[in-house]
């Protein structure tokens, strides 16, 4: 009986898609559970077990200490405008670039700052945007300002670095959404008498909203967790003391892992809150495929 039962089970499992091939997923799954889910849950647990022993001690401390809770505002104050600026500039550029025959050289150039990463961009900006750098020399030469403009070691340094690395990222994402819209829809709009602005407003924009929402979320969470440039290009003790600096200091300067976990959790939940809000708004719009007709 055992044999017959086993075959039956195997066949039944295979019918539900569970067989040898499916098992290939297990190592990766375990890896992700061990290195992502477990640390996250452990961090959550740890955040409720602060050094002083009280359940909500860390969170109470965070929201009582302006030096800590203000990091949320400071981070939002950098991340929100940076994300919006990037999207606002990326959309028109993507609409021009979609018409180009050969986009490769441009995309290659734009991928450069992403690949080089924030640390290198920070070092480059310190030189380039510094008081003796080429940028300030040029605008003084053109007579735009009398003296050098302070662009590093303050709010603007962090903002500019988020634009230099964030704009290409936002742009490439939006470009992929824009090129995903069936060009026949634009032609249909043209033959029906819609001018460029109407085509954008009535055809492209509604179809882009879901993509823009995703782009906003991804760009925002990157900007919200800004770290190296806030330290290197900003004023990490003042206006650019962002939330990841607070978490880092708790963990690696005070060795208070419980507090650090709490801050990381707060960071995660703020991001999650914004993402959920944006996706909820997205849910109000059309979300189907962006092609007119069958396949």
């Amino acid at each position: 009986m055992g044999h017959k039962h086993q075959t039956g089970l195997k066949v039944r499992l295979a019918a539900r898609g569970l067989d040898g091939v499916t098992l290939l997923i297990i190592p990766s799954l375990l890896l992700m559970i061990g290195l992502f889910i477990y640390p996250f849950l452990y961090g959550l647990w740890l955040s409720f077990h602060p050094k002083d022993g009280s359940f909500l001690g860390n969170y109470a401390r965070f929201f009582a200490d302006p030096f800590l809770y203000e990091t949320i505002n400071k981070t939002l104050w950098i991340a929100m405008p940076a994300t919006l600026i990037n999207i606002l500039f990326a959309v028109p550029v993507a609409f021009r670039v979609r018409l180009m025959q050969n986009q490769r050289w441009l995309t290659t150039l734009l991928v450069l700052p992403i690949t080089l990463g924030t640390v290198l961009v920070a070092e480059g900006m310190l030189n380039y945007l510094g008081p003796q750098g080429w940028f300030n020399r040029t605008i003084m030469l053109l007579g735009l300002t009398a003296g050098p403009v302070k662009l590093v070691h303050n709010y603007w340094g962090v903002m500019l670095s988020l634009i230099i690395t964030g704009f290409p990222f936002t742009f490439l994402l939006i470009l992929s959404y824009v090129t995903g819209i069936d060009p026949a829809l634009e032609n249909a709009g043209k033959t029906l008498g819609a001018r460029a602005t109407s085509r954008f407003r009535h055809i492209f924009l509604p179809l882009l909203i879901p993509g823009l929402a995703i782009t906003f979320c991804l760009s925002f969470v990157q900007a919200f967790s800004v770290f190296p440039s806030a330290v290197l290009l900003g004023a990490p003790a003042g206006p650019t003391r962002v939330i990841s600096i607070a978490a880092y200091q708790a963990a690696f300067e005070e060795y208070d892992y419980s507090m650090a976990s709490s801050i990381a959790m707060i960071m995660g939940f703020v991001q999650l809150g914004i993402v959920v809000a944006v996706l909820a708004v997205r849910g109000l719009f059309y979300r189907g495929p962006a092609v007119g007709g069958k396949g």
Binding site: D19, V21, T22, L23, L24, I25, P27, S28, L29, L31, M32, I33, L35, F36, P39, F40, L46, V93, R96, L106, T107, L109, L112, P113, T115, L116, G117, T118, V119, L120, V121, E123, G124, M125, N127, Y128, L129, W134, F135, R137, I164, F167, L172, L173, L175, S176, G211, I214, C217, L218, V221, F224, P228, L232, Y248, Y257, A260, A264, G268, Q271
Partner: protein
């Protein structure tokens, strides 16, 4: 009316391209600054340095112990590339070929590490690694870097595997290929181009991955980008030119691999391939 439209359109196109040009000019000028500075004898209060030299490369090499750092960097990077392939490709194969209960949850599990920024999950991860004694070791750095790269490989490989006709595998079975032969003779050659692209992208991303390595590395397990961060952070201790020389070395390594990668992938894929997935309903 019509004239006005044409003028408006031209003006709009002109401003959009001006914006792009402004961005790219500044970007290239920024990179040029670093390169110029790294070869300057003295560069203060002038457009260009007084004279040029390569001595900063030598001093950077010894001051920052770049030989050690580079060896560590490549050990970490190649380990991450190999392990991501070993973990990711079979999982992608299962995801592409089978529908099983809980597949959506598995997909979500692979998407999350790519969507949550590294700093956010890096701090709890570093905490766990330090608790288990892996914190600060090279093994810890490699494990931490696998968190975003394994899902990346899976997400890049799934559409690639889906476009390989499963009938090819069935045909090989019909002609009597064993599982091993099937894998070695049929699947591997078919998967190779996709794996090459995915792993090259992992390589480029891992060289540039700052946050996770920074949070989990110790003095002996620093990669180049983390060493660069500490050098910039402690600016003033060393000559600017020396730091810039290190930055140029870092840039050269990244760009060489980027150029190699771009022979096999579309540049936009570095950002979009994996990120597009969540939008595909």
């Amino acid at each position: 009316m019509n004239q006005l439209h044409i003028l408006g359109r031209r003006l709009w196109i002109f401003s959009v391209w001006s914006l792009v040009t402004f961005f790219i000019v500044n970007l290239l000028a920024m990179i040029a600054t670093v390169i110029t500075s790294s070869t300057a004898t003295r560069w203060l209060r002038s457009w260009l340095p007084d004279a040029y030299t390569f001595k900063w490369y030598l001093s950077a090499w010894s001051e920052f112990q770049l030989d050690d750092v580079l060896v560590t960097t490549f050990q970490v990077v190649f380990a991450v590339v190999a392990l991501s392939g070993l973990f990711g490709v079979p999982a992608a194969y299962a995801m592409a070929r089978r529908d099983f209960p809980g597949k959506n949850i598995a997909m979500l599990l692979f998407l999350l590490p790519m969507l949550v920024p590294p700093v956010t999950f890096g701090i709890p991860l570093a905490t766990v690694l330090y608790q288990t004694g892996l914190g600060g070791t090279m093994a810890g750095v490699i494990l931490a870097n696998l968190v975003p790269t394994v899902p990346f490989v899976i997400l890049v490989m799934i559409p690639f595997i889906e476009q390989i006709d499963p009938k090819i595998e069935s045909a090989a079975r019909v002609f009597g290929a064993s599982t091993f032969q099937l894998f070695w003779r049929i699947l591997l050659p078919l998967l190779l181009p996709g794996m090459l692209a995915a792993l090259l992208l992992v390589l480029v991303r891992t060289i540039a991955m700052f946050e996770l390595t920074f949070l989990t590395s110790g003095p002996t397990s620093q990669t180049l980008v983390v060493a660069l961060y500490y050098a910039v952070f402690a600016a003033g201790v060393r000559a600017v030119q020396s730091i810039d020389a290190m930055a140029v070395i870092y840039m050269a390594i990244t760009v060489i691999w980027l150029i190699i990668a771009l022979r096999f992938v579309n540049p936009a894929q570095i950002v979009t391939r994996a990120k597009q997935q969540p939008s595909a309903h």
